[in-house]
């Protein structure tokens, strides 16, 4: 049987070439199906990679605690300072769970502002942050250094700016930016900070228009903001990082219970809730799973329709070639070799459709992942799976027509007009 494989493939290709339009239309269903599947695999891989990346950069053990209304249906409730989280509460939490908490990150926003220098300007959001909330890998610090603990202690007027800020203000020269003194205008007040470092910012996906208008965070020591903002002793949320090996979800639940029992048991309107990276990642993955299922369903339906199309065209082709089948049988072809010839033809059609679908899918997946901003990846296994899948379709939908050809009576086949 093996010695006929190449002859069969050659014959199939010749047949496809002779009926280009028909063959292409037949392949279309398979093509679209495979393209859809490849595109979702790419988009899914891209999104999963993005989430993993986000989790790694923020920290998978990170938990946010925030004040939330007990009953959202009650619109008469307003939030007062006394409902918020105080520095004292955070200190007690830190004490109570000190064996499990790695660090607590605290931030207080000063507000959105602008830095101007002649024609150049950059929009910033000034954020006071303690050391724990400014975690960058070495490669994410493009120039200079991070804010030092001593500067946190003293409330020094130093700042970390983003690479985009540097693009707008110093034409991208990060080294030139370090050491510069900038005047930041926030709410009609001017604050002067010295740049000590430049960090790498992530692209804001929703951002369109000029890069000048993109707002990036300008980090200053927490104390600097607390000096200015009167009610900075109250926060509506804070983040902790669990120590390595600590079950962050369990820790989050225990801290939440602790805070609600200790500080909020008498508060009828507000309570503490928590938000973990783990849960968020899980939710995001569930959403990705949904999208994958829907697109996968479209792909599967398309493949099914495509497969039926292949089956139909194979039946037509076999009817057209009845005399050829009769001739081949007269020349000594066994039923098996006739069956193999037509299954091979169906496989070749599906495989070509699959390869074209792969190409289209890569383009489509690339476009989708580009549009949403996560680079899509396609593994060798994905490609091999898709190609094997198309071949499987060829076998499945080619078998019935091929078997019909194999069982033809040679006398009738030879006499067929």
């Amino acid at each position: 049987m093996k010695h006929m494989l190449f002859e069969n493939i050659g014959a199939a290709l010749a047949g496809i070439k002779a009926n280009k339009m028909r063959s292409f239309l037949t392949m279309l269903g398979i093509l679209i199906g495979i393209a859809a599947i490849i595109a979702i695999i790419m988009a899914g891989n891209g999104m999963s990679g993005y989430i993993e990346n986000q989790m790694n950069s923020i920290g998978a053990n990170r938990v946010e605690f925030y004040v939330t209304q007990r009953n959202w249906d009650d619109s008469t409730v307003t939030q007062k300072d006394s409902d918020l989280i105080t520095q004292e509460m955070i200190r007690k939490v830190n004490q109570e769970f000190r064996d499990e908490i790695k660090d607590i990150s605290l931030t207080t926003a000063l507000g959105d502002g602008i830095v101007k220098e002649g024609k150049d300007y950059a929009k910033v959001s000034v954020l006071g942050a303690n050391s724990s909330s400014m975690i960058w890998d070495d490669e994410e610090i493009l120039a200079g250094r991070v804010i030092l603990p001593s500067e946190q202690q003293n409330g020094a007027n130093v700042a970390m700016v983003s690479d985009k800020f540097v693009n707008n203000m110093y034409k991208g020269d990060v080294d030139a930016a370090v050491g510069q003194e900038i005047d930041v205008q926030v709410n009609n007040q001017y604050y002067t900070y010295t740049i000590v470092g430049v960090y790498q910012s992530y692209t804001n996906q929703q951002m369109t228009g000029s890069s000048y208008d993109e707002v990036t965070t300008l980090y200053v020591p927490l104390k600097v903001v607390h000096r200015v903002v009167s009610n900075a002793v109250y926060v509506s949320s804070f983040d902790i990082n669990g120590k390595d090996g600590v079950d962050s979800l369990d820790l989050a639940n225990r801290i939440t219970d602790y805070m609600n029992e200790t500080f909020y048991s008498n508060n009828d309107n507000f309570m503490i809730d928590r938000y973990t990276m783990q849960e968020q990642a899980k939710m995001a993955n569930q959403e990705i799973g949904m999208v994958k299922m829907v697109m996968g369903g479209i792909g599967a339906i398309s493949l099914l329709v495509g497969g039926i199309g292949v089956m139909n065209i194979m039946i037509v082709s076999i009817t057209e070639r009845t005399r050829e089948i009769g001739t081949r049988k007269a020349l000594g072809a066994t039923n098996g070799s006739i069956r193999m010839q037509f299954i091979t033809e169906a496989i070749v059609i599906c495989l070509i459709g699959g390869i074209m679908g792969l190409g289209l899918g890569v383009l489509l997946g690339g476009a989708i992942t580009n549009a949403i901003g996560f680079p899509g990846k396609l593994t060798m296994e994905n490609i091999i799976f898709c190609l094997l899948f198309s071949m499987g379709f060829g076998i499945f939908f080619g078998y019935y027509p091929a078997n019909r050809a194999a069982k033809m009576n040679p006398i009738d086949a030879l006499r067929y007009e």
Binding site: H3, A18, T327, R328, T334, N335, I411, L414
Partner: protein, 236 residues
């Protein structure tokens, strides 16, 4: 060798629609022997049963009763797969309508039966070229059937029939679709193959004129052999 019987048909009966009210007996007990190296013609008007007989000889169909030995092999006992192999190895078909495989070069067409026999690619290409040369088609071996005239197609078909050194060539009205001049060339080719290469040929035709050229004429009428005689060219 000269006299060994290749085709041995004994009391062949062929019925259709067996057991049904419209049961039809086409062949009523045919006895026919063909010896190696013979050029035999089977003649008869349409409806005489010669097509059915050809199908039986070519093992495209099985007789209802009787026995058929082809080079000593009992055909009636062979299963489908064995029958395919016997057809492939022992019988070379030449059809009235050539039946070359479309979009496939003359060379590939000639290789076809050898491919089914499992002859390695290099070897079958070599033999196919030799055979095309034998029928005078070596110049056009890369042409596809639609680029060939009727006579050329029939010559390719004859080359194809010879691929696996068959015991017999079974030619069914091989000149039926050709003009008389081209038909003459095809008949000359058969004579040459029979004379020079010792190939056994069974020619099925309705033309008495062509039959007279052959060594032996078997006349069929209403499913029975009504006469056997030597062709005019061989009558002494």
């Amino acid at each position: 060798m000269e006299n060994d019987v290749i085709i041995d048909l004994n009391h062949i009966i062929k019925k259709f629609y067996i057991g049904k009210p419209n049961e039809l007996e086409i062949l009523h007990g045919i006895d026919l022997q063909v010896r190696r190296g013979e050029f035999v013609s089977i003649v008869g008007a349409s409806g005489s049963g010669k097509s059915t007989l050809m199908n039986v000889i070519g093992i495209l169909d099985r007789p209802t009763e009787g026995s058929y030995f082809l080079e000593g092999v009992d055909i009636c006992k062979a299963n489908d797969k064995e029958v395919s192999k016997i057809r492939n190895q022992k019988i070379g078909f030449v059809f009235q309508t050539y039946n070359l495989v479309a979009r496939t070069s003359a060379l590939k067409n000639v290789e076809l039966p050898m491919m089914y026999a499992g002859v390695p690619k290099r070897e079958r290409t070599k033999r196919a070229k030799e055979l095309l040369k034998l029928v005078g088609m070596e110049e056009r071996m890369n042409h596809t059937p639609d680029e060939l005239s009727g006579g050329q197609k029939q010559r390719v078909a004859i080359a194809r029939a010879l691929g696996n050194h068959p015991a017999i060539i079974l030619a069914d009205e091989p000149t039926g679709a050709l003009d008389s001049k081209t038909g003459r060339m095809i008949m000359d080719l058969f004579h040459k193959l029979n004379r020079e290469n010792g190939i056994t040929i069974v020619l099925i035709t309705h033309s008495n004129e062509l039959a007279e050229e052959t060594q032996r004429i078997v006349t069929l009428k209403d499913g029975e052999i009504i006469g056997e005689r030597k062709g005019e060219a061989y009558a002494v």
